[in-house]
Symmetry: D2
Subunit: 339 residues, 4 copies
Amino acid sequence: MKSINVGIIGAGRIGKLHCDNLILIPGVNIAAITDPYMDICWAHSHQFNVVPDAGAIFSDPDIDAVFILSPSTLHAEQIIQAARAGKHIFCEKPIALDPLRIQEALDAVASAGVNLQIGFNRRFDPNFRYLKDVHEAGQIGDLYMVKIIARDPSPPPAEYVRDSGGIFLDMTIHDFDMVRYLSGSEVTEVYAAGAVLIDPAIGEAGDVDTAITTLTLENGALAVIDNSREAVYGYDQRIELFGSKGSITAENNTATRSTMMTAGGTLSERPLDFFLERYQDSFRLEVNEYFAAISGNGRITADGESGLVSILIGLAAKKSLADNRPVKVAEIRQEYFGK
Amino acid sequence: MKSINVGIIGAGRIGKLHCDNLILIPGVNIAAITDPYMDICWAHSHQFNVVPDAGAIFSDPDIDAVFILSPSTLHAEQIIQAARAGKHIFCEKPIALDPLRIQEALDAVASAGVNLQIGFNRRFDPNFRYLKDVHEAGQIGDLYMVKIIARDPSPPPAEYVRDSGGIFLDMTIHDFDMVRYLSGSEVTEVYAAGAVLIDPAIGEAGDVDTAITTLTLENGALAVIDNSREAVYGYDQRIELFGSKGSITAENNTATRSTMMTAGGTLSERPLDFFLERYQDSFRLEVNEYFAAISGNGRITADGESGLVSILIGLAAKKSLADNRPVKVAEIRQEYFGK
Amino acid sequence: MKSINVGIIGAGRIGKLHCDNLILIPGVNIAAITDPYMDICWAHSHQFNVVPDAGAIFSDPDIDAVFILSPSTLHAEQIIQAARAGKHIFCEKPIALDPLRIQEALDAVASAGVNLQIGFNRRFDPNFRYLKDVHEAGQIGDLYMVKIIARDPSPPPAEYVRDSGGIFLDMTIHDFDMVRYLSGSEVTEVYAAGAVLIDPAIGEAGDVDTAITTLTLENGALAVIDNSREAVYGYDQRIELFGSKGSITAENNTATRSTMMTAGGTLSERPLDFFLERYQDSFRLEVNEYFAAISGNGRITADGESGLVSILIGLAAKKSLADNRPVKVAEIRQEYFGK
Amino acid sequence: MKSINVGIIGAGRIGKLHCDNLILIPGVNIAAITDPYMDICWAHSHQFNVVPDAGAIFSDPDIDAVFILSPSTLHAEQIIQAARAGKHIFCEKPIALDPLRIQEALDAVASAGVNLQIGFNRRFDPNFRYLKDVHEAGQIGDLYMVKIIARDPSPPPAEYVRDSGGIFLDMTIHDFDMVRYLSGSEVTEVYAAGAVLIDPAIGEAGDVDTAITTLTLENGALAVIDNSREAVYGYDQRIELFGSKGSITAENNTATRSTMMTAGGTLSERPLDFFLERYQDSFRLEVNEYFAAISGNGRITADGESGLVSILIGLAAKKSLADNRPVKVAEIRQEYFGK
């Protein structure tokens, strides 16, 4: 069996994480890696072939697939170049904040006939995957509601917020994708309520730090997402699917399964704090689907379209908050694509 | 110590429940009881003094206090008559569906200088009371969100729905009151999303059976209530208060604290099914506050104003759903009271 | 329907508790009450008929049934007198610490043909009753093990320990009865390991404060009880039945069903602290069986024999600890009854 | 940094597991592997250097360390040979069933001055390790009890039982080691009760399938272990440490953290079924300590002595069951070593 040669673009925190997972996959070879601020010591310890820039990867005929793990402002351009070079692509979310730019990237992918997977890793989290399996097996019956709690342990710096596109495009985008994925239905309308309760600097940067977003789905069901930039008790990631036969909830993961009883009460461990720790399984599992698909086994589900649609929903949420009215996703699509 | 003589108006399911609790309170005497469809056998077994109608209770000078447990269309008129007769009043919710009619009743109560308590029993539920105590003690810090899950085990008949004023005035009204009570803040704006997913007859009756309602509070915090007319797994009554220092959740009550492990998984008991069973403690505890207040110890918190405001919020939710836009509670107040 | 007239012997903590429950039972009338240290204020507020001594109750022809709630050294004698007077009897455990004395009391009851119920209230606890129901319905299959955790919140004074008969006759006796009740099988052999880890004064009083007791049952299953005189986290009362089809566990009761998440972890409430609070339902439910039985409906299950056998098992445990060897219950029976 | 060259003796289920973990450790090189029934396909896919027998590994001067993962009857002899060849040793438990034979092996290790680690992987399980950390930090105060539940999902074949040394040497041995490890104290006396409730063939093979073992510890605390060969609900591995300041329990691990509410009750996932799955983290973590120790960083805690002592406790349990009396571990030591 011929190895799949992979080029890695971006070797920051998320890049290193993917490398750690890729080196364990039989038949996958990290052929080249690039990052303007490369951690040389780390690259050396892994004996990685460091190349000067992404161009060197795109032009290398031996490379079959690229992982675009660079800052998100570069994603669309690098997808387009990679597609033109005939490489299969894995790209972290978001493709871009501008739907037209995303569409350009998707068009390039379609023209080239390559595979593109977006890093919606939560689709591969065992807790959430189990919810989907149970739902698809009919065990909760017809879907009534999807409820998502997604709260970060602590707020990002206000400067980060300024360039992030705002909470809906930066943070809730994962939840929008989960609603589509778990419900198997499309979002038609969005109403977002938001508040600045945690850090006034986030408000000054034009964003909110607390939000409750209600979604109407094509199949008639409702969804609601609550987001907060600060849950001092840990990284809170829970989802409920509620339907005509029952309800299934994914609770938080903890480091151990211990329970301590003391004079002060019964104590169990707080949720895991950090997304890399909480979602470590999902990061490992998502690339399995990717390599299977580019080897001709199965197809990619977290595809380019999912990257586009989640941005359209996010823009609807943003407009809903700005105008204080429910906004149809079709309205956003019309605004950008005229149809 | 002189006994407090109580007159009971209405001896249906809720009337019998209150009687069962009242006979256990030292110093309280059920002096008269009336119901057009009196269960004579039950009244006889308790040796109750059955009188022909509410008028006989209002005109009895020995009666200090009345419990208005009649159909809700009679509440406002009976409050007015009781107030004029100088009786202290306990009245099940709602006072009326029309805010102007409620205001008439409250005016009569104010003129007479009697006490009025509305049957918002959930304020006295030990689980929810504990949440309020923890919050007031500052243990969860500044409030970010109030989240309420309130799902009935099975839908009411469509005929009931037709006369109930709709899900927001009939069912969510309890939750609106809980948001005010637990947050200690006023609701300023409401956005309601609704769907008919359970029983088409409910839709034909002009109502929804599934709803997600987002509330904006005066103190800046957000609240969200999800309601369903059908949770096949039991009567689901959960509340979360989430703030800057943490989050506290009231989970469901169950009949026992058992856990069974079998080949099929680990099973614990379903939530209690019936509101009389789930809230039996709260029905018992709410009347303590009432009798304390009319004896001059402490004051009534579930007062007439809480009965009016919850209806105003409910009407805002109703209009929000009808118009598909967020509606300010002040808009409803203006509509009815011109101020 | 004629009322059942009850005489109450002993109006301490447990006496008052039973009175509170009895006054709520239709058809039951507390006709007389006695206690050498009567709380007159309490008796007066309930308008109880206070009589000078137990003799006045036994000799009152209108009294149908007596509740013996006096110090346990008086139980056997009062049972004998009550039986001779033809009264039905409810008696708190233990009947006596000496099996021969217990047998005398049981013989008097048998001769008189009256009903005797021992206050093994835990048989009526809803959690434990549910375990028995599930087991009897065959849901856990053939029984492999009964496991009981019974830990007091804080140790008794050493003087109490001195007269109590020791941990096995005072505390574990409830657990011995539960093993018999839940398993539906007899205990054949006992091995007890004990230690003084909490209060040296308990050791000086000739007792242990920590014990693990292993029981062999007639049906082949094993049982193990762990006892401690000090669980600082509350009154710990858990039972597991483990069998060929699964395992069912009764967890502890708590005051509310709340869960708080803070930076320090996820906190739920400690178990209820006090046995009167933890077992309030069982105290209420046990007397229902009693009054049903003396009214000819059903029969008493927590009977005199259960009072005798639990003491025999306790004496076997005591000897096992003293001799550091497993002791057959038959050996104790032989020692006292020569058969 | 020079690599550590490892020779693997035994490539069955447990051998493959260790190989999977070893290939991920930087600086560790699997230099040779042997098994009389080698899975050639597997060895080839990993490009392992397959050698004909253990002798080829012992005599290879480039090999620094050996993993003895062969049938347990070979362990002692292979330890002796490996020690004489100057190799560091990791050996699965038990070293041997005969204490004298174990001592020979330990003597050889001592003479050679090599490191020996026994495969008591559960010491490295995150749940159990957390218990130890909490206890050592003083959070549960003085230790009162150690309680272990260790139940297999399904019984082994009776032939396996025949050669295993019986339940105490085969299964409970892990729990004996955990009691010592978690308590930090030595076991002085053992009482074992046993029964054949699951498979009569196990009884015919001279063993029991259900056991409750009580241990007395040198520090005065008590311990109790319950074992069953059949828990149809999964692999049940729970431990409680109970002390003067509280109690901490390690609950079972499950595949996901989901909870499903249906008409039949509230269902969470069953415990993981298989020891390789349940203890996968501990197998990975235990070798870290090993390689750290042989690299001069830290020392081995699951040492040869722990392998010997756990067998002595197991033999005491075996004799206790056979003689139906508590047996001191010193009695067993005297029997074998005359001191």
